[in-house]
């Protein structure tokens, strides 16, 4: 059963998402995302494609299955999906209710996703299930901070932002571990708030 409340939330913001996400964030984060996505290889699952803003940063010629909970987001993403020089399929699917078989993917990529998944550890456990043993999880995420004064600020901010979009205080690295992954790399991009995380499914 798809999480209707989350689906409606993202359907609602889909028409203005590109504007809200902003060119500034795209330009600032593009080098780090490009470096992360350059590791795509084999059967790749890309989680929460959104309007497809990240597609131009994907390396060419890859085999990518992308999912998003919001049909309206994927409608916006269609021109970018069609323009991708490789095999890219986009499907409406809730991370909590994925229909893929166990171990279907060699790698899973996320980009600013686990700030918005309502039950992050359960969502990560779903990813664990569909990833093959030894497969890699590659994440570009913003999280909460461990440091004062940023930590209380992000907590306060989350009270507001969760109403229309992402949470700002997620402990995503801990959540990745809690889901059973082995964390291999954490690279801070901005403070300890924006980061890349590389993990693997043991086996």
């Amino acid at each position: 059963m798809v999480d209707i409340a989350t689906q409606r939330k993202w359907d609602k913001v889909a028409p203005t998402f590109d504007l809200m996400a902003g060119r500034g964030a795209e330009i600032r984060w593009a080098p780090c995302k490009t470096e992360l996505f350059s590791r795509m290889d084999g059967r790749v699952l890309f989680l929460a494609l959104g309007t497809g803003l990240d597609i131009p940063l994907f390396p060419r010629g890859r085999d990518i299955t992308a999912i998003d909970i919001s049909p309206k987001m994927l409608e916006q993403a269609k021109p970018r999906v069609d323009a991708y020089d490789g095999n890219l399929r986009a499907e409406v699917m809730d991370v909590h209710e994925m229909t893929f078989d166990d171990g279907s993917f060699d790698q899973i990529f996320t980009s600013c996703t686990f700030c918005s998944v309502p039950r992050p550890v359960e969502g990560l456990k779903s990813l664990y299930r569909v990833l093959r043993p030894g497969g890699g999880l590659y994440m570009f995420e913003h999280t909460g901070s461990r440091y004062y004064p940023f930590k209380p600020m992000m907590n306060l901010m989350t009270l507001l932002t969760e109403k229309f979009g992402p949470a700002m205080n997620r402990t995503t690295v801990d959540n990745v571990r809690a889901a059973g992954f082995e964390v291999l790399e954490v690279n801070n991009i901005f403070l300890d708030v924006v980061k890349t995380i590389v993990a693997r499914k043991p086996g």
Partner: protein, 124 residues
Amino acid sequence: MDRQLFFTLGDVVANLFVGFVMAAVAWLLVGTGWNMLIAMVAMMVLGMGLAVFLWFPIGIVLGAMEAMVPMMLTGMLSGMVVGMTAAMSSLSFSDASWKGLISGFVCFAFVWVMNSRLRGPQAL
């Protein structure tokens, strides 16, 4: 313009702007009859809210977290400093503005230093 320079200058200007605007708001709202502690806390909270409001248009150009985090900090500091001083004694608009601008620059510099220390690969 070089992207790095554009974003650095943009961050400085955005923080000076938020510091100035919040100082003006606190100067308008807080008088010498206010309890200093209440003025400080109320303007700090208002500063954070105002910074988020101002971040929406500015963030489109300057980015998400890199713009939002220092701007929120600036809003809080500027509101706190100007609210507190305006409650203690009569404050001219010029003095309030300078306090706001300095708060903006201090917060930009603080976040810049913290970012220099925290960014990069982390020990697991």
